[in-house]
């Protein structure tokens, strides 16, 4: 497992993630049943040919709802990683490139944010504003800024004095050019590793918040809220709990493996 030329984690991670991405894309055009149509006569039915993953307490098709839930998960993941990456880029490059007291200040700030238990900030936000998908993405995004900032800062520090950067500076490249054209492509693999990991964290936090009823609100479908709804019918309809939970696990597993895989490949190249 260790000495092969390719990374098993990378292959598995890519497979899982692309599979889920495909399901998400399909759900945009097609689901086996209408997602929000309630049929009380069909409530809490076990898996069957008509309903592969059974039905929920309102007679809605669990498979269709799990498929559409992928849209929410990917949306939350992508937007919060976007926020984290943007914030991290600004703070990380400023700290690494400018150095001195600004570096010290920004890094102590990110330390402070890192030390703060993440879910608390999210809970504070939803107390003030009504819980919604937007608040959830914003909170998770802000929480992921420090890890991006750290990775980008250390990358910038490492490459700042490299020969190729000196050469670029010698031929008159500006700061923006040096940061974005010279340095960033060289630390891309670290950024991808962090992004994949943040993506899975985002999905886990969103699921937890929505499970508490403080994340994504109806009618937006969410795996976490499905778990909440399913808990009252645990004895009668275990499939209702198993399906969303397994899908969350597979998604997170996929992104974690992807993150590990990219890191393995980079480490092997030296």
């Amino acid at each position: 497992m260790m000495n092969r030329k390719y990374s098993l984690s990378l292959v598995l991670g890519m497979t899982f993630v692309s599979l889920l991405l495909a399901i998400m894309l399909i759900s945009l055009f097609y689901t086996p049943h209408a997602v929000n149509v309630m049929k009380i006569a069909d409530r809490l039915q076990g898996p069957s040919w008509n309903h592969w993953l059974g039905t929920d307490n309102f007679g809605r098709d669990v498979l269709s709802r799990v498929m559409v839930g992928a849209q929410t998960a990917f949306m939350v993941g992508a937007v919060s990683v976007g926020i984290g990456l943007t914030g991290g880029l600004i703070i990380g490059t400023l700290a690494g490139y400018a150095g001195k007291w600004l570096d010290e200040l920004l890094m102590r700030g990110t330390d402070a944010l890192l030390a703060f238990p993440g879910i608390l900030i999210a809970l504070l936000l939803v107390t003030i504003y009504q819980p919604s998908m937007f608040q959830t993405m914003l909170a998770i995004g802000i929480l992921s800024i420090p890890s991006f900032a750290r990775v980008i800062r250390s990358g910038v520090l490492q490459h700042r004095e490299a020969e190729y950067v000196k050469a670029a500076r010698g031929i008159g490249a500006g700061h923006m050019n040096i940061i974005f054209i010279q340095i960033l492509p060289n630390i891309a693999s670290s950024i991808v590793t962090t992004a994949a990991l943040s993506f899975s964290t985002a999905i886990l936090v969103e699921a937890a918040l929505s499970y508490l009823g403080l994340g994504v609100q109806p009618p937006d479908p969410s795996w976490g809220r499905m778990l909440n709804e399913s808990q009252s019918f645990l004895g009668k309809a275990p499939w209702f709990t198993l399906a969303p939970g397994l899908v969350i696990t597979l998604t997170v597993l996929g992104f974690n493996l992807l993150s590990d895989g990219v890191r393995d490949v980079r480490d092997k190249r030296g």
């Binding site: 330390d111 504070l124 499970y211 508490l212 778990l227 004895g235 597993l253 974690n256």
Partner: protein, 313 residues
């Protein structure tokens, strides 16, 4: 700046950040907090009364000084929902959350350390692969879903444990332990995965060092090399990791308590949020956050102090 100064500065900055954040979030919100709590149908009189109670009718600076003075003497005001001091409410819930976190930590240590050693000793073999697949899954499973599954399997199907009735420690320690066992296991699983992976890596790193070669070349059995030398050195950073993750345990227990309907911080916080009980939310968030960062700080310092290589530098 030296390490201790920097670390203390971070601690103070974080604390200040939390104090300001918990103070400001409910005061800079658009609109009048009293009106938000009472709803649009409230009379002017009711609003004035609540404002006086919350202190929001006074200048912002005065309120902030009050908040800091309150923190210093552990007075966080009175809950709107329960009409009791916030501190009393929190103190009543403390034993549940705290014992849940400690139990989860104990499970983590007891399971993760042997598994980590096993994985390191069987590196590249089948056992190691099974453990590493297990840890990947452990990291990916949401712990609250794991809690639901444990209820399904041990509570509803096998009927080994009764779920959803919490019994206090003072009433019956045995029953208290029983009602905390499943949530503690659910909480411990991701932590176990983290510690196993970490311990495996540090042990393998240590095995490449010179002192291991010396120990082996003087004829020490492999077992002694592992347990006497390598483990001693590998365990120190692992202890730090476990300590640092205490905060995550505390945060994770907020959600797990909802799954098992345990009367701890989590259910109190969710109730407080649902009722827009601002003083209670404020007090709880402050106390949880302070606890977490203080523990992290102490763990960091003790790690430095325990490791002679760093201490003597």
């Amino acid at each position: 700046m030296n390490y201790y100064a920097r670390r203390t500065l971070t601690l103070l900055l974080t604390m200040l950040f939390i104090v300001v954040l918990t103070f400001s979030v409910f005061r800079i919100i658009p609109g009048n907090p009293a009106l938000t709590i009472l709803g649009v149908e409230a009379t002017d009189e009711q609003i004035a009364m609540l404002e006086a109670k919350l202190g929001t009718d006074r200048p912002l600076g005065e309120q902030f000084i009050d908040w800091i003075q309150g923190i210093a003497i552990l007075d966080f005001g009175e809950s709107l929902r329960f009409s009791e001091p916030v501190l009393d409410l929190i103190a009543a819930r403390l034993p549940v959350t705290f014992s849940l976190a400690v139990l989860a930590m104990a499970i983590t240590v007891c399971v993760a350390i042997p598994l980590g050693i096993l994985a390191a000793r069987t590196k590249g073999k089948l056992v190691d692969m099974v453990v590493s697949i297990g840890t990947q899954i452990g990291l990916a499973v949401p712990s609250f879903w794991m809690g639901i599954i444990l209820i399904l399997v041990f509570g509803l199907t096998l009927k080994w444990v009764s779920v959803s009735t919490y019994v206090g420690w003072s009433e019956s320690p045995l029953f208290a332990l029983r009602s905390l066992l499943l949530p503690a296991i659910a909480l411990a699983i991701p932590q176990i995965a983290i510690v196993v992976r970490y311990l495996r890596t540090t042990m393998l790193e240590q095995l490449n060092l010179d002192y291991v070669r010396t120990a082996r070349s003087k004829g020490l059995p492999e077992k002694d090399v592992h347990y006497r030398h390598v483990l001693k050195n590998a365990l120190l950073p692992v202890i730090t990791i476990i300590g640092i993750h205490f905060g995550e345990l505390l945060a994770g227990s907020l959600v797990i308590e909802q799954v098992f309907t345990l009367p701890g911080f989590g259910s109190l916080l969710i109730t407080a949020i649902g009722n827009r009980d601002y003083p209670l939310v404020q007090g709880l968030v402050l106390i949880i956050a302070f606890t977490v960062i203080t523990i992290n700080f102490l763990v960091d310092l003790s790690y430095r102090w325990l490791d002679p290589q760093i201490r003597l530098k």
